[in-house]
């Protein structure tokens, strides 16, 4: 069974790594960020499988932290990308939240 878990882990890693070709190709930065997002999810799945194969419980905490923060960069990306267009339209976007 550990062999099966490790092979699935390797397969998923290969898949998300191939998906990283999107970072090379673009064309927009949103596409690049989506490849990063896919890589984050695949990395978490690979970690969970690795943890199950070798029985290390601390790895699950690493997966939790990654799960909590993997989407974080994408949020920053979207926020910054749309803020830039606000900048171009007129001044800095300093609209107070209501």
């Amino acid at each position: 069974m550990p062999y099966f878990l490790l092979s699935v882990c390797g397969f998923i890693l290969i898949m998300v790594a191939v998906g990283l070709i999107r970072i090379l190709r673009g064309p927009t930065n949103a596409d690049r960020m989506m490849a990063t997002q896919l890589f984050g999810t695949g990395g978490i799945a690979a970690l969970l499988l690795l943890a199950a194969a070798v029985d290390v419980s601390a790895v699950a905490d690493v997966a939790l932290v990654l799960g909590l923060l993997a989407a974080f960069a994408s949020v920053a990306f979207v926020k910054n990308a749309s803020r830039e267009t606000d900048d171009l339209k007129g001044g800095r976007s300093e609209v107070r939240p209501r």
Binding site: M15, R22, N29, L38, T41, A81
Partner: protein
């Protein structure tokens, strides 16, 4: 019983791996940002979810709760982010 649980794990992990395959193929082959986003969410939601559920019989207690927790976290975060990316892509604010 052990045997049945192993079959369960094998089937779900294979299905999860398949969704990662589908996500990658979609991300590389689909023609524009929105369709690629569609492919990505399949891997995010289903792929990781199937892997997490497939591993459940091999664990127990707090560890199982963490497995499900990881999935729920990614589910919430990635669907929110996907919506943000999708909306920004449709408005064209992400084009360079």
């Amino acid at each position: 019983m052990r045997f049945i649980l192993d079959i369960f794990t094998v089937v779900l992990l294979s299905a999860g791996a398949f969704f990662f395959l589908a996500g990658t193929v979609g991300l590389l082959r689909f023609p524009d940002t929105l369709t690629r986003l569609h492919a990505l969410t399949k891997a995010d939601n289903l792929g990781l979810g199937l892997v997490a559920i497939g591993l459940l019989p091999r664990t127990g207690g707090l560890y199982a709760a963490k497995l499900i927790g990881v999935w729920l976290l990614v589910l919430v975060a990635s669907s929110a982010v996907s919506q943000l990316i999708g909306r920004a892509a449709r408005r064209g604010t992400l084009q360079k």
